[in-house]
């Protein structure tokens, strides 16, 4: 059974441990722009949301990628990124409706969640179970998608 990364914003405390773990895993240092997951906090409401690539079934980023650097292996859930094919056109960052793939000027590549090879560091780091690496069932996927759709309305990325 494949797994997906579930977000529970109501449990998020805004601690950013997920970002720290992601950055440390991918780059061996703590640099927030290197994190593929980002947490947004609204202080007046005391509300925080972690956001990362949702590995969309019909991924906009894949559709616009001219070289198939962003691609999916048949049967897999992960939208993969092949750096050797990437030409740095940034089309993926424009296409993603959620802003979950972001171009990082330091590393020179678009960053998206790669689930850390099937063992997400963020889920292990989250102290409040706001991030869960769970089996992919129909009910899990629907909940995740409905959250994702809400948040595309809820926040503006520039």
């Amino acid at each position: 059974m494949a797994k997906v990364l579930m977000i529970h914003p109501d449990k998020c405390t805004g601690c950013q441990n997920c970002m720290l773990a992601c950055s440390l895993h991918h780059e061996g240092q703590f640099r927030m722009a290197a994190s593929r997951i980002h947490v947004y906090t609204w202080e007046r409401e005391g509300f925080s949301v972690p956001m990362m690539c949702q590995q969309c079934d019909t991924a906009s980023c894949m559709k616009v990628c001219p070289t198939s650097a962003l691609h999916r292996t048949t049967g897999e859930l992960l939208v993969e990124y092949d750096k050797s094919k990437c030409i740095g056109c940034h089309m993926c960052t424009i296409a993603c409706p959620f802003g979950n793939i972001v171009y990082d000027s330091v590393s020179g590549i678009p960053q998206k969640c790669d689930t850390c090879g099937g063992d997400p560091s963020c889920a292990k780091a989250c102290p409040s179970q706001a991030l869960e690496w769970v089996d992919d069932t129909i009910s899990v996927r629907n909940r995740k998608k409905s959250y994702a759709a809400k948040f595309k309305e809820a926040f503006q990325e520039e």
């Binding site: 405390t13 601690c15 950013q16 950055s23 703590f30 640099r31 102290p127």
Partner: protein
């Protein structure tokens, strides 16, 4: 550099000069960062006799080596200056994300000197530093200030600012970051206001480098496991700090009505259980925190409606039992107001308690009541008087000086429950001896958090010591004070010490920085910082006579409840405390001790 950023930023607000210097590696190694680095720089550069509200005072912000890393519950920063409340050294610690963002912008310290001739704010975006006009921000409360600064800098900037209280030089004004987090005690907000500095906004995109990634990951996860297994850390996650109301009341050690008594029959109405049931919206955590003791709270009672964070135990106590009030809606609203106006939520209610005490004793002329119904148990008074203090209106203008100076104005300073003019908090030192010694000897004045022996005297964290005993307490107080100073200097939150010990902190610090720290080295850094602060205070004019609790705690026993009849025995503990610290009978560090700590 691993762990630290390597740069100190200096801003002279009188001249507008902005300069950078490399962080002194020796200072970092010996004093770690945050509180330690701040105190080292401050004591090197500032005359202890300086007037705290004059341009000659300096205001130093510093994160620690852990800030911005995955060290659990360790993303804090410290602010150091000379306190206008105590006239001694002030150091206040705050969570949120500001400390981490300072590191990501590339700074180990930020020093403000002088005074701007008009209100300004500072915008620091990695290497770009701008001093900007803040005339349009002056007068705004903390939440509006935060939003307005972000609107003209960066939507995700981390903002530390003062509210009206700091602008008007309330002597216990705070510096707030992320709106609700507080560098609360000692009046650092007033120092900031005296410099016409309204806000500091940070954005940082740099990284914090790690010497030994695997070593740090292992040490971090081992430390996190300890915190996940610790009942106090988990209890804080479930109920926040307000959970302490009931235990201290049942022990008869909940200071009531300005320390007239130690027991408050309706305490449960303002306890953490009630807060969780009726006010809690969700939990909140500071940067890298795994405990998340923060409480997002909403008051539904229309009279006190509002949303914010807290109250913490100290504010809940201050606005509650200390003033004879058991209305948690009013208490929560008053705490929200402290954050919004930018004031210390311990000194504010403790000062109000003093005002009430004087009024009830007939020592405050009715003409000075400012139309208020000043009496014990008046819930509305908590909210109204807090506003008047923050805005320095009516009687609030005098109360803005703190309980000692207020009581002194009316000829009765003995009504102020303070040490070195800073108000003592929510644990009755007549029934808990060790914390009384901490109150009396803390370098920043009446304070519990810098030597939190409560953990072992009443909360049962591992070791359990009889709160009524004085035997052995001086050593315990010293150990807590030294360890806390080291944790403060690392950028850590002391709540981490409920599960982590010096070994854990030292292991993480070593892996992060690449410099080997044994647990003894780590704690010694704390002892070094404590002695440096002490020296400054002595030069500022403090003596052993100032290491004393209010007379009420020595002469007036607790009147009711399980701890009835008890008084504080701090004077009996002081000689042993001084001796253990390597100080003479006047509490002056010996030359040998200073040499041992590399302070001579």
């Amino acid at each position: 550099m691993n762990g630290w950023s390597g740069t100190i930023l200096r801003i002279n607000l009188s001249t507008g000069a902005i300069s950078r210097q490399p962080s002194n590696k020796n200072d970092l190694a010996l004093f770690l960062g945050a509180r330690g680095l701040g105190v080292k720089i401050f004591t090197d550069e500032v005359d202890p006799r300086v007037d705290p509200l004059s341009p000659e005072n300096k205001l130093i912000f510093a994160p620690g080596p852990f800030s911005g890393t995955m060290a659990p519950s360790a993303g804090r920063y410290h602010v150091v200056a000379k306190s206008p409340l105590t006239n001694g050294i002030a150091g206040a610690n705050s969570g949120g994300v500001f400390g981490a963002v300072m590191k990501y912008a590339g700074y180990d310290g930020l020093i403000f000197e002088g005074k701007a001739d008009k209100p300004v704010y500072v915008w620091i975006n990695d290497d770009k530093v701008e001093i900007r006009d803040a005339a349009h921000l002056w007068g705004k409360w903390v939440p509006d200030t935060t939003d307005a600064v972000r609107a003209e800098t960066d939507a995700d900037a981390s903002v530390a600012c003062i509210g009206p209280a700091g602008e008007k030089l309330v002597l216990f004004a705070s510096i707030q970051n992320e709106m609700h987090r507080s560098a609360g005690r000692g009046g650092l907000g007033a120092v900031m206001g005296s410099k016409n500095l309204k806000a500091i906004a940070f954005r940082g995109t740099k990284g914090v480098r790690v010497a030994d990634v695997k070593g740090l990951q292992d040490a971090v996860f081992a430390a996190r496991a300890k915190l996940a297994a610790n009942p106090i850390a988990q209890g804080l996650n479930r109920h926040g700090t307000e959970i302490l109301v009931n235990i201290h009341n049942e022990l008869g050690c909940l200071p009531t009505r300005n320390y007239q008594d130690g027991h408050f029959p309706t305490a449960d109405k303002v306890g953490g259980e009630t807060l969780t049931k009726d006010f809690l919206v969700r939990k909140k955590g500071c940067f890298s925190c795994v405990i998340s003791c923060g409480r997002v709270t909403r008051v539904k009672d229309p009279k006190y409606a509002g949303e914010g964070e807290g109250p913490e135990y100290e504010a809940g106590w201050g606005y509650g039992p200390d003033c004879g009030v058991d209305n948690l809606s009013a208490v929560t609203k008053a705490n929200h107001l402290c954050n919004e106006l930018g004031m210390d939520s311990i000194t504010a209610p403790a000062t109000i308690a003093c005002v009430i005490d004087l009024a009830e004793a007939g020592l405050l002329p009715a003409a000075d009541f400012d139309g208020l119904d000043i009496r014990w148990g008046n819930a509305e008074l908590m909210v109204e008087l807090t506003k008047r203090i923050g805005l320095r209106q009516g009687i609030g203008d005098k109360a803005a000086l703190g309980s000692y100076r207020f009581a002194e104005l009316y000829g009765h300073p003995e009504y102020s429950m303070s040490v070195k003019k800073q108000e003592i908090p929510a644990y009755d030192a007549r029934g808990i001896q060790g914390i009384g010694l901490e109150y009396a000897t803390c370098n920043r004045g009446g304070c519990h958090v810098k030597g939190y022996t409560i953990a072992v005297e009443t909360l049962g964290n591992g070791m359990r010591l009889d709160p009524r005993e004085i035997k052995g307490k001086p050593a315990v107080v010293k150990a807590f004070q030294d360890m806390t100073a080291a944790v403060d200097a690392s950028g850590g939150c002391i709540f981490g010490t409920f599960g982590m010990v010096a070994d854990d902190f030292a292991a993480m610090l070593s892996a992060l920085t690449g410099i080997h720290y044994s647990p003894e080295d780590y704690v010694r850094a704390g002892e070094r910082i404590w002695n440096l602060e002490r020296q400054f205070n002595l030069k500022a004019g403090f003596t052993a006579k100032d290491d004393a609790l209010p007379e009420r705690l020595y002469k007036s026993p607790i009147q009711t409840g399980p701890s009835k009849g008890l008084v504080s025995r701090v004077p009996e503990m002081l000689p042993e405390y001084y001796s253990l610290r390597g100080w003479n009978e006047e509490g002056v560090p010996s030359p040998e001790k200073l040499q041992e700590l590399q302070l001579a």
